[in-house]
């Protein structure tokens, strides 16, 4: 099977999810070609085991993000067969457009894939799963932290092709984040605070802990809606971000179904809540019935001991 992977990039670098895309492709018996938009991360991509070929697709259109322009340029460089990207904001956009250009179906946010191609993806925010089979060519995005990554030690050949696409989106003004803190979408450990934090200043305790852990700080919608200091970009859940970290620590969050929608697939969930009946304990691997005022200082000390 011919598989082309759209590399996920992070500025000029390769995003680690790209190795997971390669891992999934090689599990299907493919030796995938990896396309690097604007050439970003091409050297790193060539070093992933199992990659058949790396193609740097370069052109003026890659200086800012315009899904239409990127899809035009990447589509022209990609061969026939199956297109695989990451289920990120940009990945979903570009892959959906390539599919529409080719008149082939797109299946997003796939969590299991096997020959045939048979794929499973969550629906209703993870309250059910859907399985589909696509006989012919198709485009697919994969959920991050779900497929085992391919190792390194590859030495695929690399080439560069020039492509172009019509850029129709013009950036007028870049607005830097209030802080340089890690985004929940990119973090392997997330500590989220809810209304139970009492006031926004108390999030400082979560920020301090997150620095020790290299974690990102998230929030429930109640926290975001109640306090201006907590931006919507931190919100996890149905109308916030869907996250899939190795460890999710929920502090003062009740565990409403719309919050669970965004984090229930985290590998391990820790909940700190003073109410033993809080629904968050139903999904927590380790639940701690305590106020955060009592639990967080001890948590900080214990983590400092082992890191």
């Amino acid at each position: 099977m011919d598989i082309t992977i759209i590399a996920e990039t992070q500025g000029d670098n390769l995003h680690p999810v790209t190795s997971q895309l390669v891992g999934a492709a090689t599990s299907l018996g493919a030796s995938p070609t990896v396309l690097c938009a604007g050439g970003a991360g091409a050297d790193a991509a060539a070093g992933i085991a199992g990659v058949g070929k790396v193609l740097s697709v370069v052109g003026d259109c890659f200086s800012t993000f315009d899904g239409g322009a990127w899809a035009t340029a990447l589509d022209a460089a990609a061969g026939a067969g199956v297109i695989i990207g990451a289920a990120s904001a940009q990945g979903r956009d570009v892959v959906a457009r390539i599919a529409a250009r080719r008149g082939i179906p797109v299946v997003q946010d796939v969590v299991a894939i096997s020959q045939g191609l048979t794929m499973t993806h969550p629906i209703y925010s993870g309250k059910a799963m859907q399985e589909v089979t696509v006989g012919g060519d198709c485009a697919v995005t994969l959920r991050s932290n779900t497929f085992p990554p391919a190792g390194d030690g590859g030495s695929a050949e690399s080439a560069t092709v020039q492509q172009s696409g019509d850029v129709k989106i013009a950036v007028q003004e870049a607005i830097a984040k209030a802080s340089a803190r890690l985004d929940v979408s990119d973090a392997d450990i997330i500590i989220s605070g809810g209304r139970g934090m009492g006031n926004p200043d108390n999030f400082e305790h979560l920020y301090a802990l997150s620095e020790k852990l290299g974690a990102a700080v998230g929030a429930s919608r109640a926290a975001v809606d109640t306090w201006d200091e907590i931006p919507h970009s931190m919100q996890v859940g149905q109308t916030g971000k869907t996250v899939n970290p190795s460890l999710y620590i929920a502090v003062g969050i009740s565990g409403a179904i719309q919050h669970l929608a965004g984090m229930r697939t985290s590998k391990y969930i820790v909940a700190i809540n003073k109410d033993p009946e809080a629904p968050i304990f139903k999904v927590a691997d380790y639940g701690i019935v305590s106020t955060w005022e009592e639990a967080l200082p001890i948590l900080g000390d214990e983590i400092a001991k082992i890191l």
């Binding site: 993000f65 315009d66 899904g67 239409g68 904001a89 979903r92 956009d93 959906a96 457009r97 599919a99 529409a100 250009r101 008149g103 082939i104 179906p105 797109v106 299946v107 997003q108 946010d109 969550p122 629906i123 209703y124 925010s125 059910a128 799963m129 859907q130 399985e131 589909v132 089979t133 696509v134 006989g135 198709c138 129709k168 013009a170 950036v171 007028q172 870049a174 607005i175 830097a176 984040k177 919507h232 970009s233 109308t239 190795s246 460890l247 719309q258 929608a261 590998k267 820790v270 304990f281 999904v283 380790y286 639940g287 701690i288 019935v289 305590s290 639990a295 001890i298 983590i303 082992i306």
Partner: protein, 246 residues
């Protein structure tokens, strides 16, 4: 003047329990149906932008008769152009079919801007906006979190956010914005009762995707609950030695 088509999907209330019976989600068990949450923010932006620039909004949905409700709700806020696309087996339409049916309705409405949700609350795909843009030869700005006027939006970036402008034709997919969603008044609700909905066929090609079935998500083994903050050291130890995530 600006003509905006807004795509409104009807989905189960986000609190609804989803039950799978015989390999399919049991829709008859769902008591309450609502407009998909992000679509409501798209709709609010469409109202604001046509109020500011003149022009009109066409509300489009693809679904069965019960989906008329999302259009009636739009009518209650003053929208008079209401289109429901009806296609047999609408539940099993693949991405290509959904996009082509909606794109046809957008073309028929003569809209230069299409506002829709970042992703639907049932399928969670995020394919429809970019796909329709491709069919229409339009630009697409995705995951917009604020808007200033027709053609001017805020979108997230890795390092924060950026204000962008885009020329028509364009598709814009909305996430949650800061704008308060308006609620209809009595006059609006009366108007909605008399609103006329145009029902059109989807006219789509055959599906390329085989639907195999729905299932319930794998249940995690029940976790453990510890009483009091004294248990924190034990939990941290388990995170390190058992879960191996620290």
């Amino acid at each position: 003047m600006v003509e905006i088509a807004v795509l409104l999907k009807q989905v189960p209330d986000t609190n609804a329990k989803i039950v799978v019976v015989n390999g399919r989600v049991d829709e008859s068990a769902i008591a309450s149906w609502v407009t998909s949450p992000y679509d409501e923010y798209a709709f609010e932006a469409a109202l604001q932008h046509t109020e500011a620039a003149g022009g009109s909004v066409t509300a489009i949905t693809l679904g069965p008769e019960r989906a008329d409700k999302v259009l009636k709700d739009a009518a209650a806020l003053g929208v008079t152009k209401l289109v429901r696309i009806w296609q047999d087996e609408w539940q099993d339409l693949d991405s290509t079919q959904v996009q082509s049916a909606l794109a046809n309705a957008v073309k028929a409405a003569g809209a230069e801007l299409v506002y829709c949700g970042k992703q639907s609350a049932d399928r969670n795909q995020g394919s429809t906006g970019p796909g329709i843009a491709e069919i229409l030869g339009a630009a697409c700005v995705t995951e917009v979190s604020d808007s200033y006027s027709a053609g001017s939006y805020l979108r997230p970036t890795a390092s924060g956010s950026e204000k962008v402008t885009v020329s028509s034709p364009a598709v814009v997919t909305f996430t949650k914005t800061q704008h308060e969603l308006r609620r209809p008044n009595v006059r609006g609700i009366m108007m909605a009762k008399r609103a006329q909905i145009e029902v059109v066929g989807g006219d789509v090609n055959a599906s390329q995707v085989n639907f195999n079935g729905h299932s319930s998500p794998a249940q995690k083994p029940a976790g453990k609950t510890y009483q009091g903050s004294d248990s924190v050291p034990e939990v941290v130890g388990l995170l390190r030695d058992e879960a191996k995530v620290l």
